[in-house]
Symmetry: C4
Subunit: 292 residues, 4 copies
């Protein structure tokens, strides 16, 4: 939310093609700009798909040249888009230094770098970050309100989740160190960082099994850690649900306002009439017009 | 819910055995049609069990012929049922093209195909989809309301869950691409799709361990992904619980209806006055005495 | 709860030692019977511990004779207890055929059987079921109410959880069958039951990794199953929380009844007075006595 | 919370440097003492980082002497801090025997012991427990209230979680014993404790896969255990959310206080009248006009 700057048109170019491009690229409320946004999403998804497919050896061997051309095509397309974005905005530098501007730049650089440094095109994967634009566009659709609910509940939970992660990390350090002593390098707990990785994998119930306790004492300590993790896995859920419940409660207190308005009866002064009431329910006197 | 068409009897055959069969097969509110539904569930379960058992090598070797006969028996039974369903309904084509009609057809075809194409009977597993009929029948029992609650809460959560899955997939693409670069093919992260599979397995805390990070940097990134997954695992729960809470709240808003009484205004007929109202809030006409 | 019979004293022995033993063994509300219950818990835990330790090879080799003697000691102790239980109760057969009676019998039989059939003492592990007695005793402590809350919420959720498990099992059958076709026996998906085991392990996010998909298509289907599992893992939590919320709501609806009573003011007829009100809050007229 | 003693200044030294040191070390409400707390956190984190890095073989080989010196530096620093803490407090013994005092002592001892017993410095890992001090300091920041909410909800849930863990442990013992019989040592279920470890790993959905069932019966029993675990994983979440909901409900009961105004009856002094009350509901005396 905060990452979104409120772009302004370059005043020197408030007419002509620049104005039209600005309206298409930066606004999201007209039909044409929405279509541009939708096309952009598909193009970004397609370009990411190309990077993903290019990483598969068999496909890379077969379609090497085709994929190479498509990669350059998308890169040029995004370069043109980036250039236009810079041209039509009032403060190009501010855009270039914003999160979105940096993502846009980083999405095209690797292809150019790959001319000088063979292999640099592997960095193209950062282009996937442009997918995040999808969420910027979602703001204007019917998903907006619901997306906001989810994000704002997470945002209000941030301190509680930070405390929770701190407790988890403390447990991870302590159990990691203890397991390094108990199991030792011969069972895969080579050093404390590795043991901490094992502790995170265990507490979060991922459990790869690439490192697993093999001594009886180690298994007892693991069981303890697992039970602790199992008991506190409820905490983030509880935090998040509590935040949503708080919203709910706030709506609860707000809801009566939708039903009852604040018109007082001119005759007996009774307040709290339903919004469709035309007469006071206490004395029958006509009520003033309800104002929404 | 939407998948269920409301079947109508063929008007040309509103009497005789076709009517009786229609009542048995398509209706679910008489004793005989309920018994038919129950028998159908058991037959479907039995036929699926045969397919499952037939896939076990040792059983296939021993009871090859018996299983073959049973398979044909069930296929013929379902064929007869399918034919009757087509005959007694008013619009056979509409049934044949509905979801249930297609499932019914696909449940019998593989056995016939296996005469021409040896091996096609393996496709019989799709017959398991007929189990879904169980839920259609559940609609008529005491499980109906509770099933509806669960489904409608999921249905109302669909947009939020779509957003959530989008965020998860974005993380999966980004972390998949990064881990492909960091760990590389020599540690199992052969290409980006494989790394994305690993990221899904990790974020959902499944953690097979068939692919696991082995470099220090890879393990740090994995730990980060695991902690992110651990923190947002609460989100679907929060969404779902919030939807159920919304239902709860709606019941809460309905509760005032208990306070509202059923007196109709003798003048304008408006109902739903508050219990302390003496005059109609719509036309100002005196209300009859409220009776509890 | 239902498993607990309400034991009655043998009327022919309402006096003497049998009455005393009955009070000690079957009642839980005097100090001596509570002490008996507590001692029983410790003895059961100790005897289970012996069975557990005896299963460890190194301990079995070292303390073979000691463990053997302790096992027989506990068996004889439980035999005496079982005999007394039968003697002092009015309907011994009813006790013997109740869940608890069968558990008590099965906890001592294996040791006697091991005289005839060497190896039968391994069945002694069923003795662990006597631990469940712990929960019977908990009923009488401060844990009773909270235990009831947890159990009754689970009990009221039983239908929803049955529906949920049915959906999960349907998915397990379908995905198990599909993965058997896609991956085949060469990747561990030997037959449909094995594939179903894999699907359960995957959906519940356990993920042992003893069987894991290795083809690209198999991994895509697995990812789909994992995402489905990840999305619906919230359902049991939602069901359970909703049941607890329903209790909460019930308390909510009860609460106003405590505050407002139904007395109407004899002067102005206003209702909804707080229960401690002595005068009408609208006209100041004395109110009739409040009836609880 | 209970672990925190309320430290008092040594009365014999209420002036001079001891008083100043006491204010810096033991109080947390002045700017200088807060800075001390913050520096302490960073120093503790740095010293733990050194212990973690020292456990990595490659780093230990390279920076052996540097790490050795830093370790001694931190140890001496903490020794000085420990000495000052003892000197400036009124009851040094009470501090030395408190949880924090013991943690402080144990954080410095291993380095000294390593002079006599080579290898003892490995025990330095216990120093990580000093991180817990972080939470003590958090109490004074804006995180205090939220931390309290989380802790008190967990504290009020303690009995329910104890019951839950007991049920889980009973299932673990029973399923562990059964799987030991079914799978036997040849598939890794070497004895009952190992099988119990497997059962915990399975129920908590960790699933390392170091031990996994391989017989058909064993896999069926595992599937059952997994489904049980999957069904009751909601219980801790439900417990925790219910506790948070109880807090919420308490706030709900407080809400009517918003409707009740603060007018006191001029006659009997009763407060908490409903906002539309014109007369005291206790004595019938007219109330002053309600002010919103």
């Amino acid at each position: 939310m905060r990452l979104l700057m409120n772009p302004q048109l370059n005043p020197a170019t408030e007419r002509g093609w620049r104005r039209r491009m600005f309206n298409i690229i930066y606004r999201h409320d007209t039909r044409i700009s929405r279509n541009f946004d939708l096309i952009l999403i598909y193009v970004v998804l397609a370009s990411v798909l190309v990077v993903i497919l290019d990483s598969v050896n068999s496909l890379h061997a077969k379609f090497r040249i085709a994929l190479y051309i498509i990669e350059w095509f998308f890169t040029l397309l995004f370069t043109v888009e980036y250039a236009i974005r810079l041209m039509v905005i009032r403060r190009p530098l501010r855009y270039a230094l914003s999160i979105w501007g940096i993502i846009d730049l980083v999405s095209i650089l690797p292809t150019y770098l790959s001319v000088l440094l063979p292999g640099a095109q592997h960095l193209l994967v950062v282009r996937v970050l442009r997918i995040l634009r999808v969420f910027r566009i979602l703001k204007l659709t019917q998903y907006m309100e619901e997306s906001n609910q989810l994000v704002s509940a997470l945002w209000r939970s941030r301190r509680k989740i930070f405390i929770f992660i701190s407790v988890v990390m403390t447990l991870v350090v302590i159990f990691g160190a203890v397991m390094h002593l108990v199991e030792g390098p011969e069972h895969g707990f080579a050093n404390i960082p590795t043991s901490m990785y094992w502790a995170i994998v265990t507490m979060a119930t991922v459990g790869y099994g690439d490192i697993a306790p093999q001594t009886t004492l180690g298994r007892m300590i693991s069981s303890l850690l697992i039970l602790i993790g199992y008991s506190i896995i409820a905490v983030p859920t509880g935090i998040y649900t509590a935040e949503l419940a708080k919203s709910l409660r706030q709506s609860c207190l707000d809801t009566p306002a939708l039903i009852h308005d604040n018109r007082g009866c001119p005759e007996c002064g009774l307040e709290g009439h339903e919004s469709d009431a035309k007469f006071c329910r206490n004395c029958g006197h006509p009520l003033p017009e309800a104002v929404k």
